[in-house]
């Protein structure tokens, strides 16, 4: 079955993120986010500047619609747009860029995908939690929140990444 287009899936996931952010605030120890995975899965051919602009708009929309602190998601997400290429090169190797192929579970494997998702989510959460706590919470609490959120968001991110990445296996047969 052919998956829907990237842009449509991106908008759907953003909507899901907004809804989850508004209605699924169970505990202050868990920050639910799909945004870093969405930025990671932007097609390879897109430039870093494009990714940063996409991250800025995505973060702005998420903050604006969730009625939270405007700017916090942008602050944490724009660095992911900047570092995305470096992380992809580090985890998947530079062949991805030379071939011009987008990342996918089938081609790169679940291990590497999980690692890349954990890296972007970890960076995003580190900035987000640091700014969100604003020195009012003990460091142990912030660290615990980061660990729990990273574990949960990485698992959720695997599903989100599966929805966003194209299955191009047939092209290479």
């Amino acid at each position: 079955m052919r998956k829907p287009g990237f842009l449509l899936m991106y908008i759907l996931l953003l909507t899901a993120q907004i809804l989850l952010g508004v209605y699924c605030n169970f505990t202050s120890l868990f920050t639910l986010t799909l945004l870093p995975v969405m930025v990671l899965c932007i097609p390879i051919k897109r430039s870093t500047i494009f990714c940063m602009v996409a991250a800025f708009i995505t973060g702005f929309l998420a903050d604006f619609m969730q009625d939270g602190m405007l700017g916090i998601s942008i602050l944490a997400l724009v660095p992911i747009g900047l570092m995305r290429k470096g992380i992809i090169q580090l985890v998947f190797g530079s062949e991805v860029f030379s071939r011009g192929e987008d990342i996918s579970f089938r081609r790169q494997g679940i291990g590497k995908m999980a690692l890349a998702i954990a890296m972007v989510t970890g960076i995003y959460l580190a900035i987000y939690i640091f700014v969100d706590c604003a020195g009012t919470m003990p460091r142990s609490f912030c660290f615990m929140r980061w660990i729990i959120s990273l574990a949960g968001d990485t698992i959720l991110g695997l599903f989100a990444a599966d929805l966003l990445t194209k299955d191009e296996l047939g092209r290479w047969r």
């Binding site: 940063m52 973060g59 405007l70 700017g71 602050l75 700014v131 604003a134 009012t136």
Partner: protein, 276 residues
């Protein structure tokens, strides 16, 4: 042209990234009071550290000036102390009609321009000369002890022989009321001298303080020089005592020139008496 634009791409990317982050921070500041206060506090802390760091660097580079100022202050204080000592001596003289030992010395601060340490006849050049009131046969001291004697004076500089010169001899006393004997350099170590020509019946214990005797018209009395070490008999007639000098010649930068304005008068009197 495309090559140029490729070279500028990282700069443009960095500029866009910074602009977006600044925009995010601005939005955050306006939307949340807690984050606004926290960011303000963080920015004040960073600015405070930057300013204090800059101040530390500035202070480091002005250390030389501060040293000079402290040295000047030190000299002024030493001059005042000497005045008090003289006043005390005058009072003692008036009370006990003791013989005159206090002479009015003047102190001139100076910086070492050049100094040799690796020959038997070491010398020192100071940045004060005849225009500053320096005369030959003035003493050179520091707060750690005797350094040497001025032997030649130019307009702006003076040349002295240090204690690390085998031609220099300083009249010294062991303790405040002990035996007086000439102190010379041992010629081997930069921090060792020898008290010569000590009569055998004097016994000097190791650890006694050696000070200037004040008999030479060059140095005031009681300037610390060093502490005594081992004593040995020379040719069975006299003994000599090793002196560990307080002054470290390797770390010498600032000195004080001690001038005795009455020296010429005393020398003339001595000469007249010798001619008679």
């Amino acid at each position: 042209m495309p090559r140029n634009s490729k070279a500028f791409l990282p700069l443009i990317t960095a500029a866009i990234f910074i602009a977006m982050e600044i925009a995010a921070v601005a939005m955050l500041k306006s939307s949340s009071t807690l984050q606004d206060v926290w960011l303000n506090r963080a920015s004040h802390r960073i600015m405070g550290r930057l300013w204090s760091g800059g101040e530390t660097v500035r202070n480091h580079f002005s250390l030389s000036k501060q040293n000079d100022a402290l040295t000047e202050e030190n000299f002024a204080l030493r001059e005042r102390l000497r005045e008090y000592e003289l006043a005390q001596e005058a009072a003692a003289e008036a009370g006990e009609s003791a013989f005159m030992t206090g002479r009015r010395f003047t102190y001139i601060p100076a910086t070492v321009v050049k100094m040799s340490r690796n020959s038997m006849h070491n010398y020192i050049i100071l940045n004060k000369g005849s225009e500053d009131g320096v005369t030959t046969h003035s003493g050179i001291i520091t707060n750690k002890g005797v350094v040497g004697i001025i032997s030649a004076v130019d307009k702006h500089y003076s040349y002295g022989l240090t204690l690390m010169n085998t031609n220099v001899s300083v009249s010294s006393r062991v303790g405040r009321s002990g035996m007086v004997s000439p102190l010379i350099w041992d010629g081997k170590n930069s921090n060792r001298g020898v008290l010569k020509d000590i009569p055998l019946h004097y016994s000097i214990e190791p650890g006694d303080t050696v000070v200037t005797s004040g008999f030479s018209n060059i140095f005031p009395a009681d300037i610390p020089v060093g502490i005594t070490g081992e004593t040995e008999i020379v040719y069975g007639s006299t003994s000599q005592t090793e002196v560990i000098l307080f002054q470290e010649f390797g770390a010498l930068r600032y000195v004080t020139i001690v001038k005795n304005p009455e020296r010429d008068e005393i020398s003339a009197l001595e000469k007249r008496e010798e001619e008679r």
